[in-house]
C-alpha cells in the first residue's frame, strides 16, 4: 500500500504521520490516532456522526482521504474541551438534555461549533440548517437546537436570537 507523509494540526497540536493514501480520515483518526470520539454511522456522508472541523469547516470525515489533510488544522471532539473544562457547547448539551444515546453527539457538537465560530449569532433556521447533515434518531432535534441557541445567546450578551 502506498504511503504518504502528512503534516497537520490535530486539536492545536502539530503532528506528522505516515498514512496509506487510500485511508479515509475517519479511519485514520479512529485507528491510527486512537481518537474514537469521531463515530462512523453510514460511510456515505449522510449521517454526520463522523463530523470533524477542518480549517474551520464542518466536514464528514468518512468522505475525505486522510492524505488530503496535509497542511490543515483538524478539530475533533477530543479537542473541544480543555481537559476537565467542558466547552460551553458541551455543557449546554448536558444542561438542555440534548444527549440520549450519544452516538451523534460528537458530530453534532462539532457542526454546532463550526457554525458558531463563523456565525456567533445565527437564526434558528441557520442553526437547523447547519445541523441538518447530522442525523439524530433519539432526540427529535429540539433539545439540540435549544442547546446551541442558548450558547449563542449567552455569547452575545444574553440577547435573544431571532
Amino acid at each position: 500500500m502506498a504511503k504518504q507523509t502528512i503534516k497537520f494540526f490535530i486539536n492545536e497540536i502539530a503532528a506528522t504521520a505516515e498514512v496509506e493514501t487510500d485511508k479515509l480520515l475517519v479511519d485514520f483518526l479512529r485507528e491510527d490516532l486512537a481518537m474514537t470520539g469521531t463515530k462512523k454511522g453510514c460511510g456515505v456522508g449522510e449521517c454526520g456522526a463522523c463530523t470533524v472541523i477542518i480549517d474551520g469547516r464542518a466536514v464528514n470525515s468518512c468522505m475525505v482521504l486522510a492524505a488530503t489533510i496535509d497542511g490543515s488544522s483538524i478539530t475533533t471532539i477530543e479537542g473541544v474541551n480543555k481537559g476537565e473544562q467542558l466547552h460551553r457547547l458541551q455543557q449546554s448539551f448536558i444542561d438542555h438534555g440534548a444527549v440520549q444515546c450519544g452516538f451523534c453527539t460528537p458530530g453534532m457538537i462539532l457542526s454546532a461549533k463550526a457554525l458558531l465560530d463563523s456565525n456567533p449569532k445565527p437564526t434558528e433556521q441557520e442553526i437547523k440548517t447547519a445541523l441538518s447533515g447530522n442525523l439524530c434518531r433519539c432526540t427529535g432535534y429540539h433539545k439540540i437546537v435549544a442547546a446551541v441557541t442558548a450558547v449563542s445567546e449567552a455569547d452575545c450578551g444574553g440577547e435573544k436570537n431571532e
Binding site: G45, K128, S132, V145
Partner: protein
C-alpha cells in the same frame, strides 16, 4: 394551494411483555460514607434508564443522585434485567431498584430507631438526613450507615419485580396481559400543498400519561424523539423491498427526518399515578411514537378532504387521492 388541517391520534400501551412473566432485578449496596452502588441488569440504550433508576433509589434512600453509581447490563455483575423493550424498564427495573434500596434501608432504619429511640413509623430519610415526624434531625445518613457497618450490619439489598399478569386464552384472548397501561393523545397540525402533495407537519401537541415523571426533561426528550420518529413513519420512511431485496439499504436513499423537518412539539405530561409503579411511574418510550402517524393521517384528511389508507403518506399518494376526488 396550501391547506391546513388538524388531527387527533390516541393510543394505549401495556407496559411489559404481553401476558408473560418478565421480571427484572437489582442489587443495592449502601456504603459507609453514604454513597450507594446500584447494580441493575437493565440496558441503557440512550433512553436514560441508568439515570432514572438512580433517581428512584435516591428518592427511596433520601440520598443525593450524585452519590449513586450505577453499574448496568454486565452479566457477571448485574442480576437479570430482561429486555430494554416494551417500555418496561422504568416500571419493572424501577420497582426492582426501589425494592433493593428498601431492603438496604431496613437495616439503617432499625439502627436509627435504636439511636434516636423513636418508633420506625415516625422516621424517614431525606436530603441525607434522618427525619423525625417530618422534621430534620442531627443524624446524617452517612453517619448512620457508618454506624451500621461498624457494628457488622451490612446495608445491602436485592429486589426483583414481576408485573402481575395472566396469560391469554388461546381461543378467546381472555386474560390480564399487563400490570399497567400508558395512554396518550397527540394533536397535530399539518399543511398540505395540493399542487405537490407535500405534507408539512407544523405543530404537535403531545399529552402523555406516564403515571409519574421520574425525570420530566427526559420524559419530554422521549416524547420529542418518539414524535419525530412517528413523523418519519407517517410521511417519509419506507424500505423498498423487491423480491426480498432492500433497494434503499443506506441513509442516502432511506430518508430520516433531519433538523429541518421537525415541527414544533408541545409536550404535556399527565400524571395519573400507577399504584403498582415505583412512586407511581409507568413508561413513555414507545407511547411517544404510537399516535403520531394516526394523528397526521387524520390531519391530512382534515386539510384536503381525502383519506389515505396506507402508510407512508407520500406526495404521490396525496396527489393520486386528490385526482380521484376531483374526478368524482
Amino acid at each position: 394551494m396550501k391547506k391546513r388541517g388538524v388531527g387527533i391520534g390516541c393510543m394505549w400501551y401495556g407496559i411489559g411483555n404481553t401476558g408473560l412473566p418478565n421480571p427484572a432485578s437489582a442489587f443495592v449496596e449502601w456504603l459507609d460514607d453514604g454513597s450507594v452502588n446500584l447494580m441493575v441488569g437493565c440496558a441503557d440504550i440512550g433512553q436514560g434508564s441508568d439515570t432514572v433508576l438512580a433517581q428512584i433509589v435516591a428518592e427511596e434512600l433520601g440520598v443525593s443522585f450524585d452519590q449513586i453509581v450505577v453499574t448496568s447490563a454486565d452479566t457477571m455483575i448485574t442480576p437479570e434485567g430482561g429486555a430494554t423493550s416494551a417500555s418496561r424498564q422504568t416500571y419493572i427495573s424501577g420497582n426492582a431498584a426501589r425494592l433493593a434500596a428498601a431492603e438496604a434501608k431496613k437495616v439503617a432504619l432499625a439502627e436509627a430507631v435504636e439511636k434516636l429511640s423513636v418508633p420506625a413509623e415516625q422516621l424517614s430519610f431525606a436530603d441525607g438526613y434522618v427525619y423525625v415526624s417530618g422534621c430534620k434531625s442531627d443524624l446524617a445518613l452517612k453517619d448512620l450507615i457508618a454506624c451500621c457497618r461498624a457494628k457488622g450490619k451490612l446495608t445491602l439489598g436485592h429486589g426483583w419485580f414481576n408485573p402481575d399478569t395472566t396469560g391469554l386464552d388461546p381461543e378467546t384472548g381472555y386474560g390480564s396481559p399487563f400490570g399497567t397501561y400508558a395512554f396518550a393523545t397527540q394533536i397535530v397540525e399539518v399543511e398540505v400543498d395540493t399542487a405537490t402533495g407535500k405534507i408539512e407537519v407544523l405543530k404537535v401537541v403531545a399529552a402523555h400519561d406516564v403515571g409519574r415523571a421520574v425525570n420530566p426533561d427526559m420524559v419530554v426528550g422521549q416524547i420529542e424523539g418518539g414524535t419525530v420518529m412517528g413523523l418519519g413513519y407517517a410521511t417519509l420512511e419506507e424500505l423498498e423491498i423487491n423480491q426480498g431485496k432492500i433497494k434503499n439499504p443506506n441513509l442516502d436513499t432511506y430518508l430520516l427526518a433531519t433538523s429541518l423537518d421537525v415541527p414544533e412539539i408541545v409536550s404535556v405530561i399527565v400524571e395519573d399515578q400507577e399504584p403498582t409503579g415505583p412512586f407511581g411511574a409507568k413508561g413513555v418510550g414507545e407511547p411517544a411514537l404510537i399516535p403520531t402517524a394516526a394523528a397526521i393521517a387524520n390531519a391530512v384528511y382534515d386539510a384536503i378532504g381525502v383519506r389515505i389508507y396506507s402508510l407512508p403518506i407520500t406526495p404521490e399518494k396525496v396527489l393520486a387521492a386528490l385526482d380521484e376526488k376531483y374526478e368524482q
